[in-house]
Symmetry: C2
Subunit: 216 residues, 2 copies
Amino acid sequence: MQKHKILIADDHAMVRDGVKNLVQQNKDLIVIGEARSGNETLELFDKLQPDLLIMDISMPDMNGMEVSRTILAKNPGASIVILSMYDDEDYISRCLEYGVKGYVVKNESGSELEYAIRSVLQGKNYFSRQAQDVIFKKYSQNVARKKTQEEEISLTKREIEIVRLIADGLTSQQMADRLFISPRTVETHRANLMKKMSVKNAIELVKKAQQLDLLQ
Amino acid sequence: MQKHKILIADDHAMVRDGVKNLVQQNKDLIVIGEARSGNETLELFDKLQPDLLIMDISMPDMNGMEVSRTILAKNPGASIVILSMYDDEDYISRCLEYGVKGYVVKNESGSELEYAIRSVLQGKNYFSRQAQDVIFKKYSQNVARKKTQEEEISLTKREIEIVRLIADGLTSQQMADRLFISPRTVETHRANLMKKMSVKNAIELVKKAQQLDLLQ
DNA sequence: GAGGATGTCAGTAGAAATACGTAGGGGATG
DNA sequence: CATCCCCTACGTATTTCTACTGACATCCTC
């Protein structure tokens, strides 16, 4: 049987041991190395080429996110599960950005970590309960904000057409050619749009339209 | 003890009974109504004002998503858990958009539903394993796409600063004032940016910068 | 049929952006 | 020290955008 090779990175021996025990209760998993710092993690990852890296987010020299970014820059498919003390939104979203596949908050049960390991080795992502809560909260805040703004502003069909063309980077002349109307008319629409949406130039107009989800 | 009032909506009696049993094993929960269609759900929700609505996504007259949207438009804080046969990405993301707080795929265990009920009643979101997998897959695809584009273009610190100000809708003069440099210099940066990023005007520049995640 | 919303177009004027090219000072690096 | 990159800055010319005002036809509604 081919065992999955796992590298553990944490500056606390006790945590390393705990994770190691947890991992090695599974016969198809084997811990092939332990790192005590960010730099050591980078070295060992290169040398050992593990199937999975389980890493603390806070380490003395370089934090887990920076290590993740470095590793994932060189090894885009690498599997990394982050262990963190915190369910901080910044941390979590940065990890997602960098391509980390798992994120488990330490005060959650060991089964969360096991589930994360299983999922990631199967090629899926796994963010633990608390981590998801944070993401969903952020997401729904965004949605809520969009909803409340959306009410007041109502655009005509033509105006929506125009604002989309503006967002595509066309000049008034180009829009006029495409719509078979005068460039002056396009400019009228543009002016009306800016007035309706309380902005001072086309760039802010496009941003606002994006926020209101008017572009496609 | 104040019991949490729950409304169940599903066109299949067997599913309703199953959910009902599951719910009423908890002493602090009580099923106060059952709806067999989308329209009935809307009526009962208005009349009964439940603390939580557990609803099938597919119903004869109006599907669960449309019902959700209608209810949430009138009751922005309403708690809704969607039961679905499918882990379709479109369904899930639409539910998120509308403000649905829970999404459970039917072939998952009953404990997923219980967990969802608990979480939502506590004011949190809960999307079951399969639903999350879909979202994360989508998310990481986006990240991956972004990454591949990012390589070629490298901007200097000053250029990044400028492109962000452009994205904020400032004119060259305003940027010059803020950065204590000549407006001509700002225009030089702007021109260099447009050349580097192969675009013809500021709007396309901003869009490109957004794609490359250069704006904060 | 009066009134409102929409889409169309124009004049005038000034502000801003874009397209060219050129160039010096400073820092890092070989 | 030569070279490259970055930041800085200017000249000239043209295009595009923004601001403000006024106007007319159409369609819908009350």
